[in-house]
């Protein structure tokens, strides 16, 4: 992740932790669409970065003033339950260390959620959502593509996908390739930067934020509101 000189503090009472820049832009656009404000969205890194980032994050100024905390991660190649357990373990470890660093009277009893998509009953409530749907393998790109499955350009994307499947060395991350193919089929292609494709596309309005496929995510976010 890009270094920002240790300057991030928690300023709002609700925090959404996402993996990277793509998600920051995606949720910026989605929150505007569903008229949800007052949620601080921050990057906590993907993969192992999350495990390394979270101990510093929970100790930063303002963390103990949070009223609600949400974490959104990609399932990647395994079922969502694996990413859920991994995120939960990283949080548990970091919060335990945070409490151990404080005098007894300042410790907070954090409760973690039992399943992805729902918030814990503790104070602050903590929720973990796993892309694309809290169940299957995949990532943000899979969910974005689902929202446009009826778009005419998807025929081009599916044709591209079928063709790729016949290659001796097909793309390693098919969801990313398909998302890029979809965006390439748009009338005005976006000028993307590294690690930021579907996020900028969300800002341009290329994903269908009214799709029913976003309902589980919207339900999760409604618990954060």
């Amino acid at each position: 992740m890009a270094r920002r000189s240790g300057s991030i503090t928690i300023k709002k009472e609700k925090l959404l932790l996402v993996e990277g820049k793509d998600e920051i832009h995606f949720f910026g656009a989605l929150f505007r669409h569903i008229n949800q404000i007052d949620i601080q969205v921050e990057m906590a890194g993907g993969g192992d970065n999350f495990k390394n980032e979270i101990p510093m994050l929970v100790k930063t100024r303002g963390f103990d003033g949070l009223k609600k905390i949400a974490v959104i991660r990609d399932a990647e190649k395994k079922e969502a339950v694996n990413a859920f357990k991994s995120a939960k373990n990283s949080l548990r470890k970091a919060l335990k260390e945070l409490n151990e660093s404080k005098p007894l009277n300042q410790r907070i009893k954090y409760l973690l959620p039992d399943a992805p998509g729902i918030f814990s009953s503790g104070s602050p409530p903590i929720g973990i959502f796993i892309f694309p749907d809290n169940s299957r393998p995949g990532m943000l790109e899979d969910l974005c593509l689902k929202t446009v499955e009826d778009h005419p350009a998807m025929k081009c994307v599916n044709g591209f996908y079928d063709c790729c499947q016949k290659l001796k060395n097909p793309p390693k991350n098919m969801a990313k390739s398909k998302a890029e193919a979809f965006l390439a089929a748009m009338p005005r292609p976006i000028r993307k930067t590294a690690g930021d494709g579907v996020g900028l596309a969300a800002q341009k309005g290329y994903w269908n934020f009214d799709s029913d496929h976003l309902n589980p995510l919207k339900f999760f976010l409604s618990q954060l509101a």
Binding site: R3, G6, K59, T60, K102, P103, Q106
Partner: protein, 365 residues
């Protein structure tokens, strides 16, 4: 070495605890969160039977006059109705120390002292015992009692009493007297780092007389490898030998060399004790800060001292993390004090956390 400190009703602090203190401790936090007060509380607990230390910390704070108002500042919000309670756990040897500061009132208190213990030229006289506490408790605030207990395992608890007294409390700048238990003897040492040139030269001269400048040069060589010696000139200035035809005045060395030497000479002076450095970044360019920490780490090992420093600077915090990167021993802590109305929260960063700071996006201060 301090392991833990608990502070109640001292200066601006209602209640604060710092535990798991290590060899080098850096305290961060916003203005008026109590960082300097923590250093002062630790300083008082080094010699809890020596009330004169309170006068010393008031001078360090820069209070221009000694008056009852200045003495009252030791108490939370200057409210002398609640006593100051300081408590510390130490190791090597393991012991527990408590220090209670309570106000003394009334003319009788002073008269008793003057009759029974004429003031010495040093302003420090033996303490006369508990009977002073039975003095008239009606009247004006005239000073502070220090009641200390030092408890070591399998040893009898040592109790000492001392006081600090305004001999003429009605004056805007009263003479101040400390009265210390005549049997009180302290074995621990502690000092604040003074940045004045005069005290640096004085400390350096002591090191020269003890023929120990080689130890200091050895630590400073890590910052300036060409350094072969440090000397004092006839004009009282300190000069460095870096292989040029002439010696270089220390202030011409750049990189905060004089500041680093000031800290090192204090560490040397206080061998085996505790050194306090308030706003450690003062007078030091941020590019020199990693060198400063490297020198401190080296000196702490060599001279076995415990360091307590405060800072506002993110560069200082980052450079602390960089400087300890290759040190495996768990001897570093960073504490952030957060003042929330009358509450004080503490967040502790252990050695591994501190090493992660330079690469982290999250604010530590």
């Amino acid at each position: 070495m301090f392991k833990k400190i608990k502070i109640d009703h001292f200066r601006g602090i209602a209640h604060l605890e710092l535990s798991d203190l290590k060899k080098i401790n850096l305290i961060v936090g916003e203005n008026n969160c109590g960082k300097t007060s923590v250093l002062e509380a630790l300083f008082l607990l080094i010699n809890p039977g020596n009330s004169q230390l309170l006068g010393n910390v008031n001078i360090l704070r820069g209070f221009p006059l000694i008056s009852s108002e200045v003495l009252k500042i030791s108490f939370l919000k200057s409210n002398i109705d609640k006593s100051v309670e300081l408590e510390a756990e130490l190791r090597d040897p393991s012991e527990k120390r408590t220090l209670r500061l309570t106000p003394s009132y009334g003319q009788n208190f002073i008269q008793n002292i003057q009759q029974e213990a004429p003031a010495s030229g040093t302003g420090v006289t033996p303490f006369l015992g508990n009977k002073l506490k039975t003095a008239d408790a009606v009247g004006e605030f005239t000073g502070i009692y220090f009641d200390a207990e030092i408890k070591q395992r399998q040893k009898k608890t040592r109790k000492t009493h001392s006081s600090i007294v305004l001999t003429q409390p009605n004056l805007p700048n009263s003479p101040l007297e400390s009265r210390i238990d005549k049997d009180y003897k302290e074995i621990r040492k502690g000092s604040f780092v003074s940045s004045s040139d005069g005290s640096l030269v004085h400390r350096f001269q002591k090191i020269r007389v003890a023929k120990q400048t080689g130890d200091i040069v050895e630590v400073l060589k890590k910052i300036e490898p060409s350094l072969t010696g440090i000397e004092t000139g006839a004009n009282g200035l300190i000069y460095c030998d870096v292989g040029f035809e002439n010696l270089l005045p220390i202030n011409a060395m750049g990189g905060g060399f004089a500041k680093i030497l000031s800290i090192l000479t204090t560490i040397y002076d206080i061998k085996g004790g505790m050194v306090f450095i308030d706003e450690i970044e003062n007078g030091l360019h941020h590019t020199a800060q990693e060198s400063l920490w490297s020198a401190i780490i080296e000196a702490v090992k060599k001279f076995n001292v415990q360091i307590f420093a405060t800072t506002h600077s993110s560069e200082t915090v980052d450079s602390f993390g960089k400087a300890i990167k290759n040190h495996k021993e768990d001897e570093f802590r960073l504490f952030r004090i957060e003042k929330k109305e009358d509450e004080f929260d503490v967040v502790k960063y252990n050695s591994e956390d501190i090493k992660a700071i330079p690469d982290s996006d999250w604010e530590v201060r």
